[in-house]
């Protein structure tokens, strides 16, 4: 080993010398030289590379333009043009007449608006989300056929939800989460940035006279009443308001205190804002020693700007009241969570635009206005109090730091294009000469970061680890700008700093809090205590300890009712997931069918349990090779014997059934199906003059360009299957009795894939998520679930990347064949199930579109977008929160997905292929030689297994 290192070290030294001499001539390699223009399928990328079109720059451009006070209202029904020929105008909907009904067929609608004076205006949309569709409504506005700025495409109109049932209890006395439903309600929405990057609504420049205003939605269903062009009034300060109170002679209310429990919310903006429970303290209302009590709302889900929850309060007399909230913000260490308070839809005064709730892991009662409480004038009767997530004081800081991250990432990418990810320590690459503006960018960003650090200190009122992180970054940038020759040695640290910063930004952008109750009280009343006394707490925890011996927290299902069939279901998932399935069974399945379901959370050991006679009737989320394995030994029920099996199997793509079929029988139905998509960085590819490759030929042409720029390409080794399928090859022949790896297509495909790794030195192992984030791999093929992960947790590259179907092979008719492998998970039913029909009912129910979609939605509400469910049900897939373009892309690819059949001994196929692949890539023997050798072993094993099971 040592001698080998020595050999390489001397080699490295020589290399260094050579490289240093050569480097003065290195420049970018652009695609022009390689004549990519010839590629007829490539889709070009349009990318606003310099971020020229931001709202900041737009405001700057119009900073001296006046904001006239004129107001124009246009009825939505008086539209000028639309792409939806069948668009309808409803005569009346929920109290309003002549409203425009947007549907999933409506992409855009345009209005002509006559504005008396040119100037900057707010635009308000009067809409009703209706109750027909569930996803939020994305909205893009174009004025006079032009997108005024990039952020104008980011507005989000929320839907309105409420609890449709009261809090009920199960038969063990635990509270059940109330169900939620959508509500029809007319709302006024000022177009604003949906990401919360700006606290104020957008101002748009409108010409004098006629303007065309075009709204484009993500094809969601909702009703629209009117567009209002006006000036949003500026909120008065509390000082002015309290002066008003005096002049109007408002009096303080007397001895009154009322608590409004958080879980009894009136309405909320999202289905994820469901009621929650906290059993940490007896003072949380209500609480119980051993049983679950729904007693809070919010939590980790109530975090993104724009999400709101509202409550109804009732006051007995006209007068001035103070407001308080019992909350816990145990999420963002050292930071505030911010909320905007609205009473009856209006912000009463500017101070409550940004209520800062400091970090504390304990429950707290905060009186708004703290020591000198704000007084709110409330008339006798009911009022709606709502709290909305806002980034508040952090808004500008986050926006500015996001811009910093963008420029730093851009610089990083330019640097590695010259030096690679691991630059040589002893080479001076002259980055400052090769990258224009390198030093200036670093200095500018350093100044900006320092400024934000000072601001953060000011907001938080103290120096913390956050400011230290920012200061470190700034000093590193300053020093790198001064001594550009040190960049190569500090590159890793630089990259780490960027990712720390972007992770931190992501954290600050989330503003979760839990709420136990709101308090409305007369100024003379004392606010309730947040915590129980020590004695009470001690009693509570002692009781909890003793009840823990009698209460079984592991039973997930309800107690079964006698005289009705019970299906025992094993689920190979986490507790959260099983909890969701249990709720759905209680809500939708058992009441309708009268079948009890006993859900158990078990990982693995199905076989052993079945052997011992303790196995389940049905198992969910089983690996795709298991069904045939179990079935061959007579453990599974052939599902195709059920009458309506055909209809059920229509729910899935035929490829998802392939691994479960053997000799005309089918032993499982799929629950999930995963397949690969191509992910790419728009900025990097457009910088290199590359487009999105549609065929392998185009893909191969990109490789040298990307590699010359010291970046890489991410390809999974399973690409082998893709190549086989695209060339019309197959895995097995002779009724699955032998592999087809001796056929020419397969040998060629195998040769091609191993060559990719040998010739281009592609990495066998990489973390796609990180590499795409840093741009080190600007194009890669990965499972499509990466999409949700990237969109959920890589904010700094938002809009810089995209997903497309994988490259294909052009067939004889000039069509691109994008075939690839899809891997499903299975639901199976065991032979020893007592109630087979009931079990089948359950399987049918679980795999139905309605249930799969709801399961996916609820799962996402717990795990966030990163936990998006890869359902195999194609109808349910469309109901998950993908946008139209993503659905199109994915469906396009899904149509090409194929399944790999399973056969006795097919575990050996994967094994043999992996071995043949590794051996070839390790440089031992040719691909054909290795494939042939292992193919023999695979076929021996398959033949042996066929003999074992006596299958002819």
């Amino acid at each position: 080993m040592l001698s080998c290192f020595r050999k390489y070290k001397s080699l490295a030294l020589v290399m260094t010398l050579v490289v240093t001499n050569v480097f003065s001539t290195v420049t970018y390699c652009y695609a022009e030289d390689n004549k990519v223009q010839e590629n007829k399928y490539v889709i070009p990328i349009n990318f606003d590379f310099d971020r020229t079109n931001t709202y900041e720059k737009y405001l700057d451009k119009y900073k001296s333009t006046p904001s006239p006070s004129s107001e124009v209202i246009v009825k939505a029904a008086d539209y000028a043009a639309t792409d939806d020929k069948n668009i309808k105008i409803s005569d009346s909907y929920d109290g309003k007449n002549k409203v425009l009904a947007w549907t999933s067929n409506t992409n855009w609608v345009e209005w002509n608006v006559n504005v008396p004076e040119a100037g900057m205006y707010n635009i308000n949309i009067g809409y009703n989300p209706g109750t027909a569709a569930k996803n939020d409504i994305g909205m893009k506005i174009e004025i006079n056929n032009q997108l005024p700025f990039n952020e104008a495409a980011n507005s989000v109109l929320t839907r309105v939800w409420k609890d449709s049932t009261a809090i009920q209890q199960d038969d063990r006395g635990n509270d059940l989460k109330p169900k939620m439903e959508m509500v029809s309600r007319w709302l006024n929405y000022d177009l604003i940035d949906g990401d919360g990057s700006y606290t104020e609504p957008f101002k748009f420049y409108l010409n004098k006279g006629e303007n065309k205003i075009k709204l484009t939605s993500n094809q969601e269903t909702f009703y629209m009443d009117a567009i209002k062009i006006y000036q949003k009034p500026v909120d008065k300060s509390y000082k002015d308001i309290s002066a008003q109170y005096q002049s109007k002679g408002y009096k303080n209310a007397n001895s009154m205190l009322q608590k409004i429990q958080g879980e009894n919310a009136y309405q909320k903006s999202s289905v994820t804002l469901y009621d929650t429970y906290d059993r940490s303290d007896p003072a949380i209302e209500p609480s119980d020693v051993s049983k679950t009590r729904i007693n809070t709302i919010g939590g980790a889900n109530w975090k993104s700007s724009g999400q709101w929850i509202s409550w109804k309060i009732e006051v007995p007399e006209n007068g001035l009241y103070k407001l308080g909230v019992k909350y816990k913000q145990g999420y963002n260490t050292g930071l505030f969570a911010n909320r905007k308070l609205l009473i009856d839809g209006k912000v009463p005064f500017s101070e409550v635009n940004d209520i800062k709730l400091p970090y504390n892991t304990e429950w707290n009662v905060m009186t708004l206005g703290e020591k000198d409480p704000y007084l709110f004038y409330l008339e006798k009767g009911t009022h709606e109090v709502s709290m909305e997530v806002t980034l508040g004081a952090y808004t500008d800081m986050i926006r500015s730091l996001n811009n910093c991250v963008f420029s730093l990432n851009d610089m990083y990418r330019r640097i590695i294009m010259i030096s690679g990810e691991a630059p040589d320590q002893y080479t001076d690459y002259y980055f400052e000469k090769q990258i224009p503006n390198l030093q200036k960018t670093f200095t500018d960003v350093a100044v900006e970061v320092k400024k934000q650090s000072a601001k953060l200190k000011e907001i938080n009122g103290k120096v913390g680890s956050e400011t230290a992180m920012l200061d470190n970054l700034a000093s590193q940038l300053e020093s790198m700008s001064k001594n550009p020759d040190t960049i190569s040695t500090r590159l890793t640290k630089y990259k780490d700093n960027i990712s720390t910063l972007s992770a931190w930004i992501l954290k600050v952008k989330e503003q979760p809090i839990d709420i136990d109750y709101l308090v409305v009280a007369s100024p003379d009343s004392k606010m309730p205590a947040a915590k129980a006394s020590i004695l009470q707490a001690a009693k509570f925890s002692t009781q909890r300890f003793f009840t823990s011996f009698t209460e079984d927290y592991n039973i997930i299902s309800n107690k079964a009712e006698k005289d009705k069939p019970t299906v025992k279901v094993w689920v190979n998932l986490g507790r959260d997931q099983v909890g969701i399935i249990k709720d759905m069974v209680n809500d939708l399945f058992t009441p309708k069918t009268g079948i009890n379901v006993q859900l158990e959370l078990v990982q693995g050991s199905v076989i052993e349990a079945t052997l011992a006679g303790k196995g389940p009737d049905v198992a969910l989320m089983v690996g795709n090779a298991d069904p045939i394995n179990f079935a061959l030994r007579g453990a599974l029920v052939d599902l195709s014997t059920f009458k309506d099996f055909k209809e059920v199997s229509q729910r899935f793509s035929p490829s998802a059934m392939v691994p479960f079929q053997f000799q005309g029988k089918c032993y499982a139905i799929p629950d999930t199906q995963d397949f690969n998509m191509m992910f790419y960085r728009k900025d990097v590819l457009s910088q290199l003059g590359l487009g999105v490759p549609q065929t392998w030929d185009e893909f191969y042409k990109m490789i040298p360009i990307i590699q010359q720029n010291k970046m890489d390409i991410g390809i999974p080794e399973t690409l082998y299957n893709t190549l086989i399928f695209q060339r019309g090859g197959r895995y097995y022949k002779d009724d699955l009795k032998a592999t087809a790896f001796d056929e020419k297509v397969n040998v060629d495909a195998f040769k091609e894939i191993t060559n990719l790794f040998i010739r281009y030195n592609f990495n066998l192992k990489f973390d796609g998520y990180t590499r795409l984030r840093t741009g080190e791999m600007p194009i890669m093929i990965q499972p499509y679930t990466l999409y949700s992960k990237l969109s959920a947790s890589a904010p700094e590259i938002k809009g810089l990347w995209d997903m497309a179907p994988i490259p294909g092979t052009v067939d004889k008719d000039g069509k691109i064949n994008r075939a690839e492998e899809g891997t499903p998970n299975a639901c199976i039913m065991f032979q020893n199930a007592k109630y087979k029909d009931a079990s089948w009912e359950f399987l049918k129910w679980f795999s139905s579109a309605e249930v799969q979609a709801r399961y996916g939605t609820e799962l996402e509400s717990i795990l966030g977008p990163a936990g998006r469910y890869a359902t195999a049900n194609r109808e349910a897939f469309k109901q998950l929160p993908w946008n139209r373009k993503e659905i199109e892309n994915l469906s396009n690819q899904w149509d090409y997905v194929q399944g790999i059949p399973q056969t006795p001994g097919s575990y050996y196929t994967t094994r043999g292929l992996t071995n043949a692949f590794n051996t070839t890539v390790n440089g031992k023997g040719s691909s054909v030689e290795n494939l042939t050798k292992w193919n023999k072993d695979i076929n021996d094993e398959i033949a042996r297994k066929f003999k074992e099971f006596g299958i002819k």
């Binding site: 030294l13 052997l611 030994r633 192992k765 990489f766 973390d767 575990y907 590794n918 390790n922």
Partner: protein, 310 residues
Amino acid sequence: MQTQVVKVPEAPIYRKKSLWAKIKENKISYAMVAPFMILFTIFTVIPVIASCVLGFTYFNMLQWPKWIGLLNYQRLFLEDDIFLIAIKNTLIFAFVTGPLSYILCFVFAWFINELPRKLRVFMTVVFYAPSLAGSMMAIWLIVFSSDQVGYLNAFLIQYGFRTEPIYWTTNPQYMMTIAIVVQLWSSLGTSFLSFIAGFKNVDPVYYEAGAIDGIKNRFQELVYITIPGMKGIMLFGAVMQIASSFAVGTLTQELFGFPSTEYAVHTVINHIFDYGHVRYEMGYASAIAFLLTVVMVITKNVITKVLKPD
């Protein structure tokens, strides 16, 4: 005539006491071993017997076992090429890492024994911890990751030894070495602890006597007093280390995946797993397992013979 009846004194009858009676007599002792014996029987004796019996059957875990006589053994010895690889690898582990780790245990225990008390406790934890934390293997996954940002690869690339990552866990050229290193790292277990205890057990009187008799240095002390003084523990350690080397399996599976490339680090335990849990041929797997047990028992006896304490 009067016959004189000579009364021959009855010979004392050494009637064997019944087992039951014996148990009754020593009931307290039996009661004290009972908890262990019950568990030992249920979880060790019965499974060993069961695997011996199952070794003569075809058993696929779902259907009732079918008697097939010696067919499994016939296949094992005559047809199974991979079993030979597994045997080879297992023997490498048994006879390379076994003795090596035995020596390491002893040497480290000796060093640590020389340390002041507080430091000794700390160091004991440091060395013993790896064998406690089974899933600590994950750290080696990062070190030997085939990714270019894996610790070792990143180091080699950073300092110019390599330009491309080495596929540590899929290239058979490196796999065995890595497996041995990691196995040694995690093998300072029970025998290491017992050595430390053993050192403490040697009566200090001997050292004083030795000093008077002319022992000059610590090494002589070790050879002439300490080792003879803890022969029993030395034997125990040897058996433990070699036995645990025979049972290497989860380690290779976690580090190199299952099965490893070209079966480069495929051990007998992996082979059992392969047949038991991948191919569902429990009968065959039992045959292998039983064979492994027999080999381990024989090895144990050989070790005992070699290191026989007085």
